[in-house]
C-alpha cells in the first residue's frame, strides 16, 4: 500500500510554553522541547538516527538543530515552507521512516520571533516575482482581510455580521486557550471585547489575529512495529496531505477568493489515505491554522466540516466548540498560542497526541473514532500557499 498510513508511530512529544520568551534563546527552546520528547519516549537522545528540523528563520542549516542537542554527525534536514514548515518536516520524516531508511527519527520545530520581528512576505523569501521590489508588499493580515471581504461579499453577508461570526471563533479559541498552561494567552474574552478591539486590517480586528510568540515542539517517530518497545499508547500516523498553489489567485483572474484550494486539496489527500469519507462525523478533533479567524472559517468549508457558505450557521450553533460536534482548536489554536512559524505544526500534533492518549486535562474531548487532524498553511490567499495536513490516530 502506498503512503505512510499505519507505518509510522509517534512515541514521544515535547512542547514548550509558547510565549514572549525574552530570557530564552532558540537553543533553550529546542533543548526544552526535545528533552521533554526524549523523556516522554523514555529513550536516550543518542538513539536518534536522523532529524528533520523546521524553522522559517530562526536558524539556517541542519546545524542549528544539531548544535544545541549535540546530535552526533547524523543527517539533519532543515525544512522551510513558511507556516507549513513543521508539518512539512514531519511528513518528510514519516516518508523516511515508512520507506525503511531510518527507524528512529527526531522532528523539531522552533522559532524565536521576539528577537528579530516578523518576516514580511515578499521580503523574507524573494521570488522572481518580487526581486525588483516594485510590487506591493503587505502583511499576511492584509491578505486574509481581502479573503474576508470577498467571502462576505460573495455570500451576501453584511460586513458587521461577518465580523460577529469571526469574533465568535476568537472567543472560542480564547476560551480553549484559557484551559491550556502552554498557551501564550490564557484568558477568556467576550464577543464585545473582540468586536470593539482596534482594527488591524479592515475588516479584521486585533482578536481576529494570532499573536506573535516564541516556542518549540518536537516529536520522536519510529517504524510502527517498533513502537510497542517504547510505550503502549503510541499514536499512529493515519494520513498525510500537502498541496501547493502557484500564485493562481493572482495570475488567474477567475479565482473566487472565497476559499483556499490548497487547504481543500491537502485535506482530501490526507482523508483518502486515512480512509475518511465524512470528516465531520469521523474526526474526534481538529487543530487547524487559525492565523486569522477568517482562515478558520473557510477551513471549516474546505475541510468538509461545513457545506460551502454554511460555516456561519455551524459557528452560531457552536458545532466547533470544545463540547460541540467536532471540536476545533481545542488547545486554543494559533489565536491563543501565537505563531512561532516553524514550531506551530508540531505544537498542534502535540495537542492531538495528548488528546488521543486522554491526557488533555480540562480540554479533554470525547475520543470516539480515535482520529484527530492537524493542519498548517504557509503563505497567504493572495500570493498562494502550501497547506499540509496530518491525521493521527490510535491503533
Amino acid at each position: 500500500m502506498p503512503g505512510v498510513r499505519d507505518k509510522v508511530a509517534i512515541i514521544g512529544m515535547g512542547c514548550t510554553r509558547f510565549a514572549e520568551h525574552w530570557d530564552k534563546s532558540v537553543n533553550d527552546l529546542i533543548v526544552e522541547a526535545c528533552y521533554e520528547a526524549f523523556e516522554d519516549a523514555n529513550m536516550e537522545p543518542r538513539e536518534i538516527q536522523a532529524a528533520w528540523w523546521s524553522t522559517a528563520r530562526s536558524g539556517e542549516l541542519g546545524r542549528s538543530l544539531a548544535y544545541p542537542l549535540k546530535l552526533n554527525f547524523i543527517p539533519v534536514t532543515r525544512v522551510e515552507n513558511r507556516c507549513a514548515s513543521g508539518h512539512n518536516a514531519f511528513i518528510d520524516a514519516c516518508y523516511a521512516v515508512a520507506c525503511g531508511a531510518f527507524d528512529v527519527v527526531l522532528v523539531c520545530g522552533a522559532e524565536k520571533l521576539k528577537d528579530t520581528g516578523l518576516p514580511i512576505p515578499g521580503d523574507s523569501n524573494p521570488t522572481d516575482l518580487y526581486t525588483s521590489r516594485v510590487d506591493p508588499r503587505f502583511m499576511p493580515v492584509t491578505s486574509f482581510a481581502q479573503l474576508a471581504l470577498r467571502y462576505f461579499h460573495y455570500y451576501g453577508i453584511p460586513v458587521d455580521e461577518g465580523r460577529r461570526i469571526l469574533a465568535k471563533i476568537a472567543v472560542k479559541n480564547h476560551y480553549n486557550g484559557s484551559l491550556n498552561p502552554k498557551a501564550q494567552f490564557q484568558r477568556k474574552i467576550t464577543l464585545e471585547e473582540a468586536l470593539n478591539a482596534p482594527i488591524v486590517a479592515w475588516p479584521l480586528g486585533l482578536y481576529d489575529c494570532c499573536g506573535v510568540s516564541d516556542g518549540a515542539a518536537a516529536a520522536i517517530i519510529v517504524r510502527a512495529d517498533l513502537a510497542k518497545k517504547y510505550r503502549d499508547d503510541y499514536v499512529l500516523v493515519k494520513g498525510v496531505g500537502m498541496s501547493t498553489g502557484f500564485y493562481h489567485g493572482q495570475v488567474q483572474d477567475d479565482w473566487s477568493l472565497t476559499h483556499i484550494e490548497e487547504n481543500f486539496r491537502a485535506a482530501r489527500m490526507a482523508y483518502a489515505e486515512a480512509g475518511i469519507t465524512n470528516p465531520r462525523k469521523e474526526l474526534d478533533l481538529a487543530i487547524v491554522h487559525d492565523c486569522f479567524t477568517i482562515h478558520e472559517l473557510v477551513i471549516y468549508e474546505d475541510f468538509g466540516f461545513s457545506p460551502r457558505g454554511k460555516a456561519k450557521e455551524d459557528v452560531d450553533a457552536g458545532a466547533f466548540e470544545l463540547k460541540g460536534e467536532l471540536p476545533v482548536n481545542t488547545d486554543g489554536g494559533l489565536k491563543s498560542f501565537g505563531h512561532p512559524v516553524g514550531a506551530s505544526g508540531l505544537r498542534m500534533m502535540y495537542e492531538v497526541y495528548k488528546q488521543l492518549q486522554g491526557k488533555a486535562g480540562p480540554r479533554q474531548v470525547n475520543i470516539r473514532n480515535q482520529l484527530g487532524l492537524t493542519h498548517t498553511c504557509g503563505g497567504t490567499p493572495i500570493d498562494s500557499q502550501t497547506a499540509a495536513v496530518v491525521i493521527l490516530g490510535l491503533r
Binding site: G117, D123, S132, R133, V134, Q146, L149, Q252
Partner: protein, 468 residues
C-alpha cells in the same frame, strides 16, 4: 502646417488651502501626492495627451522640468518605456529654467519642420519647493502638461516664434539647494520678468506683423496673479478678455508646465481661426503665436479636461501632511525586519516590459490574459505560447482590498481588468472609507514607497478610483 495635434494635462487630486500656508491667503494650490513626482506627473500628462494615439507612431519624446527626480538618468526614456515607444525614438530631457517646457516645444517644432520627425511628444512637469512660510511655497503648484507636435497639426498651427536669452540672478536653485531662491521682489519683476517677457512678445509681434489686439488669448507666465495682470496691462491687453486665466487661485504656478497647461486651457475655450499667444519666462523668454485650425475636429476639445481635473480634488488635512509628503520633516526611520531587501536594478531591467507599460501575456491556446508574464500558462499549461499585451491603459474593478496601519493605511487590492487579467496593486489618491468591492478603477504610474531605497527611486502602477 507644423503645430499641436493633442494636449494632455495632469493636475494632482490633492489641494492644500493657502490659508494653511499663510494666514488669510486666498484659494488653494495643487500638491503632488506622496507617491508623485515630476516623472509620474509627466507620464500621466503624456498618457492623457496620447489617448487614442498609438505610442508606436511617436518619433520623439521630450521631458522638461526643473525638478526631475534624477540629475543623471533620463526621464524621457522612462516615459518612452511606459508608452511602448519604438526603440529608435529620439528622447531628450530639458531643464535649467522655467523655459524648459517651451524650449522642448521649440526643438520639437523645429525637428518636425526640418523633417527629421513627424510626431513628437513634449511633456513638462514640475514639483518645485518653496521654503516653508515663503511666498514661493504659497504660489507654487504641482502639475504637468503635454503637447503632441505634428507635421499636419490637428488643433493649432505654430505660425511664429521668438526667443530671447537673458543673464540674470532673479530666481535660481543651486545644485545644493532644496528650495528655490529669489532676489528682492521688485528687482525680480522689474528687471527680469516684465522687461524680458515684454521684449520677447514685442519681437514676436514684429515678426508676425500682427497687432496684439488681433490675438484672442494670451498665455503669460504668471508667478503671481497680480504680476500677470500688471504685465498684461503694460502690454496693452485687456486682462478680462485677452489674458488666459492663470488658474492661480485653484492650482498655482506649475513651473515649466505652466505655459503648456494654460495654453491647453486656452484651447478648450478657443474658436476656429483664433490666434493664441503663449509666452514663457526663465533666463530669457520664449513666445509662440498659434493659429487655431479652421476645422476644429479634435475629440478632446469640448471635453473641458482641465475644468474636470480641477474639480476632481481632495484636500490635505493639514500642513504637516504636506511637509511629510515632500519629506521636509524627518520622521524616524521605521524599524524594518532584517530580511527586508533592496530593490534590484537587474530585476527591474529584466522586467522592464512588465513594469513600465505593465505588459501581461495572452495565451495563444486558451486566450487567458495573465500578469505578470508567464512561461507556462496558468490555465492550460501551454509553454511559451503567448502574445504580450499592454495592460496599463485598461480600466478595471476592485475585486477585493484591505488596508492596515503598518502600511499607514495605504489600501492594497486585487483588480480584475477589463478584457481579462488580474493585478495586485496599491491603491492611491483614495481614502480607505471610499473603497467598495467591485468599484471601477483605473491605473496610474507612481513612485513606490520603499522600505529600503538603496539610493533608488522605483516606479510602478497603482490603481485609483475613476471619479470623472
Amino acid at each position: 502646417m507644423v503645430g499641436v495635434s493633442s494636449y494632455g494635462v495632469h493636475i494632482p487630486v490633492w489641494r492644500i488651502k493657502r490659508e494653511l500656508l499663510g494666514k488669510g491667503l486666498p484659494g488653494e494650490r495643487a500638491v503632488a501626492g506622496k507617491d508623485e513626482d515630476s516623472l509620474t506627473m509627466a507620464v500621466a500628462a503624456a498618457l492623457d495627451c496620447l489617448e487614442g494615439v498609438n505610442g508606436g507612431s511617436i518619433d520623439g519624446i521630450f521631458f522638461a522640468s526643473t525638478t526631475p527626480p534624477f540629475y543623471e538618468k533620463s526621464v524621457s526614456a522612462t516615459i518612452a518605456a511606459v508608452l511602448d515607444a519604438r526603440r529608435e525614438v529620439f528622447t531628450a530631457d530639458f531643464s535649467g529654467s522655467l523655459r524648459a517646457g517651451t524650449t522642448a516645444l521649440k526643438v520639437a517644432l523645429e525637428m518636425v519642420r526640418a523633417g527629421s520627425a513627424d510626431r513628437i511628444l513634449v511633456a513638462a512637469a514640475d514639483c518645485r519647493l518653496g521654503a516653508p512660510g515663503t511666498p514661493l511655497e504659497q504660489t507654487f503648484g504641482d502639475g504637468a502638461a503635454a503637447l503632441l507636435v505634428e507635421r499636419d497639426a490637428k488643433i493649432a498651427d505654430v505660425e511664429f516664434a521668438a526667443h530671447v536669452y537673458d543673464e540674470i540672478y532673479d530666481i535660481w536653485r543651486r545644485d545644493v539647494d532644496l528650495f528655490v531662491n529669489s532676489w528682492e521682489d521688485r528687482y525680480v519683476y522689474t528687471c527680469g520678468y516684465m522687461r524680458v517677457v515684454k521684449e520677447t512678445i514685442s519681437r514676436l509681434m514684429d515678426k508676425s506683423g500682427l497687432n496684439l489686439k488681433d490675438v484672442a488669448k494670451v498665455v503669460l507666465p504668471v508667478p503671481e496673479s497680480r504680476r500677470g495682470i500688471e504685465l498684461a496691462k503694460s502690454l496693452g491687453l485687456d486682462p478680462k478678455t485677452q489674458l488666459q486665466d492663470p488658474l492661480m487661485e485653484v492650482m498655482g504656478n506649475t513651473g515649466t508646465a505652466q505655459p503648456l497647461m494654460l495654453f491647453a486651457a486656452a484651447l478648450e475655450e478657443a474658436n476656429p481661426n483664433d490666434w493664441i499667444l503663449m509666452a514663457s519666462y526663465g533666463s530669457g523668454g520664449d513666445a509662440f503665436l498659434f493659429k487655431v485650425k479652421e476645422n476644429l475636429k479634435m475629440p478632446s476639445l469640448g471635453k473641458k479636461k482641465i475644468a474636470q481635473k480641477i474639480a476632481n480634488k481632495k484636500t490635505l488635512p493639514d500642513y504637516i501632511t504636506y511637509l511629510k509628503w515632500r519629506k521636509l520633516v524627518k520622521t524616524p526611520e521605521p524599524r524594518v525586519d532584517m530580511t527586508v531587501s533592496y530593490p534590484s536594478a537587474v530585476a527591474i531591467w529584466r522586467e522592464t516590459h512588465r513594469i513600465y507599460p505593465l505588459h501581461g501575456v495572452k495565451c495563444k491556446v486558451c486566450g487567458t490574459v495573465q500578469y505578470p508574464p508567464q512561461r507556462v500558462c496558468v490555465k492550460c499549461q501551454s509553454k511559451d505560447n503567448f502574445e504580450e499585451v499592454r495592460l496599463c491603459d485598461k480600466k478595471g474593478r476592485l475585486f477585493s482590498y484591505s488596508f492596515d496601519p503598518i502600511r499607514e493605511n495605504t489600501p492594497v487590492g486585487l483588480i480584475n481588468l477589463e478584457g481579462g487579467g488580474r493585478v495586485f496593486l496599491d491603491l492611491t489618491d483614495v481614502d480607505a472609507e471610499e473603497l467598495k468591492i467591485d468599484m471601477p478603477v483605473k491605473l496610474t504610474f507612481r513612485r513606490v514607497d520603499l522600505r529600503r531605497e538603496d539610493g533608488m527611486y522605483v516606479y510602478f502602477w497603482k490603481a485609483t478610483p475613476i471619479r470623472e
